[in-house]
Amino acid sequence: MTNNVGPAPDEIELSVFGPGDGEAAAIHVGDGSWILVDSCLDAKTNEPASLDYLRSIGVEVGRDVSWLVATHAHDDHVKGLARLVKECRAAKIVVPEASSFEEFLGLSKLDGRLAFYSTRYTVYSEYRTMMNHLRGNQELTRIVRAQAGKELPLGASMRGDRVRIMCLAPSDAAVTMSRRALARLWTVASRSPGGQRVASRDPNTFCAAVVLHIGDIALLLGGDVLVGSANWGWRHIVGSFPYVRSIDGHKVPHHGSDSAYYATVWNDWLMETCISIVTPFRSSGIPDDEDIKNMKKHGVELWQTARSGAIKRPRDVIEAEGKLRSVTSGTVELAGGLMGQVRVRWRNGRVRVEKFGPAFQVA
């Protein structure tokens, strides 16, 4: 099955990409207009997966991508982001509120020194490259900061219905907590003994989540937002946005892990016919069997873009394992893998799900 047939102008599409160590989504809102969420690289082409896909179906990315949402700055959600920003010239860029704080901007600048040591394992190179590009082209006005309750108008779909993006996270408290955490990271980074990266991870409180309403269809993209507490995360979101219901398409947050699993969302928000899609994070083996059990018990149709566990290894990986036997415990595995895609299309009350690459429906 090939995936290079684009949606009809009145067809809504949610495509989720994930090879095992990255995640991205592409949403067709109608009339050839697209929204992209996060970015990951296809190991075969070394290009952003969503860019490869859109080009393969004939989308003029410089014109037809109107929004780019970067939910947070973790490695597995930003690889290729700077390239998307550059290529999708007409797109507004949604970034979490905390990414415009001086603490974060300073960390991303300091991270630049690590680029002399490793271009692969720097932390904020995508954000830094993105900001340098926007600044250099005087395009900082493309940036829109995401905070819970902020609505981003998208314009009319072909049926005259309004298309809306509503930010569900980060909350005010999450933004404040992010700021404090970033300040601590700055203190560590400025006194970090040799070999330390600037910060291995910025806080998950940083992360944005959005709900899209496109005509009758509602899509929930949860980024890596965690369960949280009364004033941040899913607990806060459910309490603050009681009118959010009837989700038809759902990108499962944080790779289906139990730290992001909030039963109320699954019970009360997702339609019975909702299609839920999870991208694995193979380095941590999530979603594991327990996670799958949690999700499946709600009776939803669940798809996964690639396997969570070990995958078939090419010969060079097996050879590497042999060479590294004396310094490793267990096997050497691929951190990522082939790009998997789950594509859901809605039109005239009907829904169609297709899978590509290693993607599969979770039984």
Binding site: R113, A115, F116, Y117, T119, P193, G194, G195
Partner: protein, 243 residues
């Protein structure tokens, strides 16, 4: 860096500029977390005086003079750490005026026999002319200079000599990748365009050139190592096979 069956191989990074050797020491490297505590305490120090700092750890050799800093290793498994150390030193000395960076690879290897040893020297420097005027001429030292494949000013130098370490019939070869910290719009396209061998292009050392040096060490290092390995590998192969 997988040269076939050689006796000794190493790499050196040389930075030209204006240095203060007196500040270099194992303790100073340790202070900036460029080496470990045990490494620093067990370092072998030859001298640390105003004109020169010369010391070594288990894997790293340091030789700093007023006009140059030389970091080297003769352990091929430490070549990447050597690069890290050079980047680290330049990072903690942002005020140092510098002008050029040399990335060097060298190797000693054994040839299979005296016959092949002599044949190898004759292949690199034919003796037909010399034998008309001299008796039993042999190759003592050969240096070839070539243009760079990128857009940095400078050149590539390859030297071949009899080895002082591998005896008998050992060969030593070195590839010096000399980069002046200045970009050029293009490299010479013909011999007629190349500068005379004796001309040594120089530029005024400046601390503003440190980012360029870091760029060379980050971006040029992989391809420089590959080219050096290719040249050295071909020399080794040639010295062991006879066409």
């Amino acid at each position: 860096m997988a040269l076939p069956d050689v006796e000794v191989e190493g790499a050196t990074i040389v930075v030209l500029g204006r240095f203060n050797p007196a500040i270099f020491s194992p303790a100073w490297l340790r202070l900036h977390n460029l080496i470990g505590a045990v490494e620093a305490s067990e370092a072998d120090v030859k001298m640390i005086i105003p004109p020169a700092a010369v010391f070594s750890t288990e894997w790293l050799s340091v030789d700093v003079r007023h006009d140059r800093m030389q970091l080297g290793t003769a352990m091929p498994q430490e070549v990447e750490r050597l690069r890290d150390t050079a980047i680290g030193v330049l990072s903690v000395l942002p005020e140092t005026p510098i002008s050029a960076v040399g990335i060097n690879r060298d190797v000693h290897w054994a040839t299979p026999s005296r016959e092949k040893y002599d044949w190898f020297g004759d292949e690199l420097a034919p003796k037909k002319f010399w034998d008309r005027h001299l008796k039993l001429s042999g190759t003592q030292d050969l240096t070839i200079r070539a243009v760079r494949p990128d857009n940095w000013a400078g050149y590539i130098l390859v030297s071949v000599q009899p080895s002082t370490l591998v005896k008998p019939c050992g060969v030593y070869a070195m590839v010096n990748d000399h980069a002046l910290l200045r970009k050029v719009p293009s490299q010479p396209r013909s011999r007629a365009d190349t500068p005379p061998i004796e001309a040594q292009d120089t530029i005024e050392p400046s601390r503003d050139l440190i980012p360029l040096a870091l760029e060379v060490l980050r971006d040029e290092w992989p391809s420089r190592m590959v080219q050096a390995d290719r040249v050295l590998g071909s020399l080794i192969h040639m010295s062991r096979e006879r066409s």
